[in-house]
């Protein structure tokens, strides 16, 4: 009997939600265009970036959906929320085709994550064509909010400018004046090189030389570049490689004993998964910039505990960023009372917020960069770790203002 009543009530609520008259914005019930909300996660699930985001990023988004429903009620978004996913294999053409398919055939309302800058830029174009939302979390290129910016694309977690401002300037100010930069030769690496060069020179240092390494690097060998570093004798070797490539660079940097020749290693982009791969002590003392650390405070720890229970690892900032971005998107849909892309864009632009991942966040309306604080972190030696995955400590904060590229430098002309 009780079940029948519950069912009846549920049906009534559903009827009210879907067809029951027009409820104004913010008025509680949400009206969805096609009766459901579809969030698509497109990322690398088989290659070099699969561990730092990959399948566990999909889990993070699912967690966000579950938690959102637990907080606001099962039908708070006016219908079911689906999470779909695809592996883009770090190939821009695959990424774009998948995005097209998801927007058109699967009625995706939002695409999330998308590491690999070249693939990320491809999807930005598709989002504009389809007039559907795209919040990028794991790609780093500043072009997403610069030359390639558009009305439907948001850049959420970090970019090369933020990394360079944090690591480039801090290391230079600590006395690492002359740099030799090596970077993977594709959109991400080239952008990193540019951002770091600017930051280092701006802080009074100089870049002796920079060299691109092939991407993907099939031989896994970086010895020729490291040998060159030994010859050039810079104070700092700036390694802009990411994921598996970075692990190879650091392993061989240690092998060539460049540290003993007073060549310091500065790493552009470091994920916890890289530290797992090499062992904490191989990185000990390294300074790096990150938007988030799982151990930074209680709020973050809470999320990290839940994530650990579900996946067996502590979240990288990419995992946390996907959770947070999915959450803020659902909040925007709820506030606006619709999943209509233009209405959600309006809700997001200029929005100020804080959550466990984003501190002092503002969605900059002019270029859709999500301004927020960044952290300067340092890898601890293993002897200081209190538990597994306790890799780093926070040594400084970069304010949202300083971590964000000035609007004028980006050259974003938002197409109408």
């Amino acid at each position: 009997m009780q079940r029948t009543i519950a069912l009846l009530v549920a049906t009534l609520v559903l009827a009210a939600g879907c067809g029951g008259g027009n409820v104004g914005p913010g008025g509680g019930a949400v009206k969805l265009n096609d009766g459901k909300l579809v969030i698509a996660v497109i990322n690398d699930q088989s290659g070099v970036y699969a561990d730092l985001s990959g399948k566990n990023a999909v889990e993070a988004v699912k967690m966000a959906v579950e938690d959102f429903k637990a907080k606001y009620g099962e039908n708070s978004l006016g219908g079911p929320v689906e999470v779909i996913t695809a592996d883009h294999q770090n190939k821009p053409d695959v990424a774009s085709a998948k995005a097209q398919e998801f927007y058109e055939r699967n009625a995706a309302d939002l695409i999330l994550d998308v590491p690999t800058s070249s693939a990320a830029l491809g999807i930005a174009k598709v989002a504009l064509d389809q007039k559907k939302l795209y919040i990028n979390v794991t790609a780093a290129t500043t072009d997403l909010t610069g030359a390639s910016c558009n009305k439907y694309t948001f850049h959420y977690a970090y970019d090369t400018y933020m990394l360079a401002q944090g690591t480039g300037i801090t290391v230079t100010q600590q006395g690492g004046k002359s740099w030799y930069i090596i970077y993977p030769n594709y959109a991400f690496g080239q952008d990193m090189e540019k951002s770091f060069r600017q930051a280092v020179i701006g802080a009074g240092g100089n870049v002796i030389q920079s060299d691109g390494s092939p991407f993907p690097n099939t031989t896994g060998d970086f010895s020729s570049l490291l040998l060159k570093a030994g010859q050039l004798k810079p104070q700092v070797l700036g390694a802009m490689q990411a994921g598996g490539d970075l692990v190879n660079v650091v392993k061989q940097y240690n092998e060539f004993k460049l540290k003993d020749q007073n060549i310091k290693l500065a790493i552009g982009l470091l994920f916890d998964t890289d530290i797992t791969a090499l062992g904490q002590d191989a990185f000990a003392g390294t300074l790096y910039t990150t938007p988030w650390l799982w151990s930074m405070d209680d709020q973050s720890r809470q999320f990290a505990d839940k994530f650990l229970k579900r996946t067996g690892i502590r979240p990288t900032f990419a995992h946390a960023g996907n959770y947070s971005a999915a959450w803020q998107y659902m909040e925007a849909v709820r506030r606006g009372g619709t999943d209509d892309a233009d209405a959600v864009v309006k809700q997001l632009e200029g929005y100020k917020f804080n959550d466990f991942f984003i501190r002092n966040g503002v969605v900059r309306a002019d270029d859709h960069w999500v301004m927020h604080d960044a952290l300067i972190a340092q890898v601890k030696p293993k002897s200081e770790a209190k538990e597994q995955f306790d890799y780093s400590k926070v040594v400084g904060t970069l304010s949202a203002e300083k971590a964000s590229r000035p609007l004028a430098d980006g050259g974003c002309k938002m197409p109408k």
């Binding site: 088989s46 290659g47 070099v48 699969a50 561990d51 730092l52 030769n185 060299d211 691109g212 390494s213 092939p214 993907p216 690097n217 099939t218 031989t219 896994g220 060998d221 010895s223 020729s224 570049l225 040998l227 060159k228 030994g230 010859q231 994921g243 598996g244 692990v247 190879n248 392993k251 061989q252 092998e255 060539f256 004993k257 003993d260 020749q261 998964t273 890289d274 797992t276 791969a277 090499l278 062992g279 191989a282």
Partner: protein, 289 residues
């Protein structure tokens, strides 16, 4: 100039891996006429073998150098008995596909268990230092890799060219019917030869563990390169495999002096040229293949 000279050592170190891997491929192809696509996967298993021995049994680098290749070689012999053997009578393409499938299974199985990011493995303490060669230090471990692989290559060459076992193996490769007619059991040698070739790949894997990212994908990245080396050297030619391995390593490293991007391209450019000029490879003879 010193930089170029030191690049030579890098080339030799990289070439050591190409030589060990293509040597195994050549031995297997010579006797079994099987293009073993799973070779890269066995190389990866060798590296993981070293890692697991250290992690779970606290067995260090030196014992691992013997244990891992032996264990993986024996397992490969089982695989030959169980699967590969069944396809000898058919087009070589079938075994190529079979070993390709095995690669995917092994690789994804490891991925499921270990993830993609890789596992830490330190160089043995005795070889951790660096030797001062001119202005920069050169890792002792790399020098060891060069010397060790050269020694292995010479040993294998001696085994095949100068011993009775090698003679039988060579005979069964070149004229299997005639060898059989002389009362020699050719089939007896097929399984151990496969195991031996695979063990060489695993040995390469153990050697690579201290200097490369130990990840399930490390083999698939290298195997394509190795195939290019085998084609350059001549399919099934032992000397060709070794010479081409070191040659490609050195040339690729020297090319990297001019432009780092060339390092990846060179082997394939070289392969194209060799195929045009000498289709059987540098050391291959047309009638054997």
């Amino acid at each position: 100039m010193e930089y170029v000279a030191l690049q030579l050592f890098n080339g030799l170190a990289n070439g050591s891996f190409y030589a060990l891997l293509s040597l195994g491929l050549a031995v297997i192809f010579g006797v079994l006429r099987v293009v073993n696509f799973a070779h890269g996967a066995f190389y990866m298993l060798g590296a993981f073998g070293a890692y697991l021995l250290l992690q779970d049994f606290s067995v260090g680098f030196w014992p691992a150098l013997a244990i891992a290749p032996l264990a993986i070689g024996v397992a490969a012999m089982g695989l030959e008995r169980l699967l590969i053997r069944r396809l000898y009578g058919l087009d070589p393409l079938y075994n190529f596909l079979l070993t390709f499938g095995l690669t995917l299974i092994i690789q994804d199985g490891m991925r499921l268990r270990f993830g993609l990011q890789g596992q830490p493995y330190p160089a043995p303490a005795e070889l951790g230092g660096s030797l001062s060669l001119g202005p920069v230090g050169y890792p002792v471990y790399r020098l060891f890799v060069i010397v060790f692989s050269l020694a292995v290559c010479v040993l294998v060459w001696y085994l095949i060219e100068r011993t009775r076992v090698g003679m039988v193996v060579r005979a069964s490769t070149e004229r299997p019917e005639l060898t059989r007619a002389l009362g020699i059991n050719v089939d007896r040698w097929v399984t151990p030869v496969f195991g031996f070739g695979v063990a060489l790949a695993a040995l390469g894997g153990v050697l690579a563990a201290p200097m490369r990212n130990v990840s399930p994908l490390m083999g698939s990245e290298l195997i394509i390169f190795t195939f290019a080396v085998v084609v350059i050297g001549g399919m099934g030619s032992i000397v060709g495999a070794v010479v081409a391995g070191f040659l490609v390593g050195i040339l690729a490293s020297l090319a990297a002096v001019f432009d780092p991007a060339l390092e990846n391209v060179l082997a394939f450019a070289l392969m194209a040229v060799v195929l045009l000029v000498r289709p059987a490879g540098l050391f291959g003879s047309v009638d054997r293949t």
